[in-house]
Amino acid sequence: MADAGNSLETYGGWRDAPGAGRAAGSRTGRALRVWVCAGLLVLIVLAVLVVPPLLPLDQQAVDLAAKLQPPSPAHPFGTDEVGRDLLLRCVHGLRVSLLVGVVAALAATVLGTAVGALAGALGGWSDRAVMRLVDLFSSVPHLLLGIFIVAMFRPGVWPVIVSVALTHWLSTARIVRAELLSLRSRPYLDAALTGGASRRRVAVRHLLPAVLPQAGLAAVLMVPHAIWHESALSFLGLGLPAHEASLGSMANAARGSLLAGAWWPTLFPGLFIIVPTLAVAGLAGAWRERTNPRRRSELML
């Protein structure tokens, strides 16, 4: 009876929390989230930068005697189906994923900003033509288009980056164009023109600084997306060469041993995909709430 009353009370308290504690609670909650995400990211970046030079990975080394060992002090994440240490392979795979994510997101943002700026600056007929082209691209599923692009090259990191960049610039183009269209009719651009500013000066001094925060946010939100895309391609066997450590191909290779009861070769690569993407998305979400508090939409993942 006392137990039931107690749990009811906690239930009531829990129900009150979102309403009553919103003003005070959400701020500390957000700060906590930002710090946890930032800490995780620092840890990940340090691991990815420090570990591979210290402990180089022999991609081909196989030790069949030590295959599928559960996590132990010698192998904290266990070993995979051919006896390779999972922790080391995960860190090396994460390094590739982060590299692909950051470079592809940067390339996609630059491409998207250029196309969006072109459409927004030209306006009229050419604007409509460019945006219909963007619609055409986005009507094809991302992954299908990505597979098509990857299939044209030999397996490797760069084809994956190209594939992710070429399929992910569309949303940035839309954001930049919309922002430019809303800025175009502001009187302060008229004032700059009567002040003798050239078209280029108007763009560099007045338009670009107004668009950059949005484009930067889009770039950061793109990083998790690109990481997932890389993992998906590798999982399908289309990304990196099969022997190289990649989170996607590790998860794929571990499917067979999962049925035999070995959970660690699937779990740890999966966690290495999920945790960094959530950390990046959490930071980007906090940034978006700061720059644009009115739009509290869910994180784009």
Partner: protein, 226 residues
Amino acid sequence: MLELCDITAGYDRRTPVVRGISLTVAPGEAVGLLGPSGCGKSTLARVAALLHRPDAGTVILDGEPARRWRHRAPRDLRTAFGVLFQQPRLSADPRLRLAELIAEPLRATGRRREIPARVGELADRVGLGPELLARRPHEVSDGQLQRACLARALVLRPPWLICDEMTAMLDASTTAALVAVVESYRRESGAGLLAVGHDRTLLTRWCDRTVRWAELGGSAERPRTR
């Protein structure tokens, strides 16, 4: 001599806002243009400052008809106009401090060396202290921002001033101060002025000559919001 001949302009070719308007401002003359709101006087002011291409008609500046508009207009022609807009909030780049705002035309025309002297002089003239000059537009009032915009309009010493309802959002004392600054600038430089507004008392006291929109031959039968 600034001549607007038979101007037809608007934002949609089928329904022009301004139809067949002609207006002349002599050098050193102050012309007030009175009209009800939404009749197209702001559009006419933008056409006069080469900021909006008219559908028909010509703008003649000192005997030379303007052929190009906005950023395509020659820089000398564009900078011949100092323009003041109705809403200072929208006509100031929110990222620039007031000092940078005033100095921006000097930077854009490659006259950086004049910046310290010119900005200091104009800030004194419009009544902005050094503390205000270091603030950004969202940290000052509308009146203070309009003072900065006036300083920006005067910084290149334009021979023509176009004030598009410059004082519509301001209180009486700020209005008086701004008009006094414009008038003292015109006395020493001999600049011509086209002041647009709907405040008859102000414009008749301020300008040498006021014309009413209806007298200009324009048709105001379909007022549209600008």
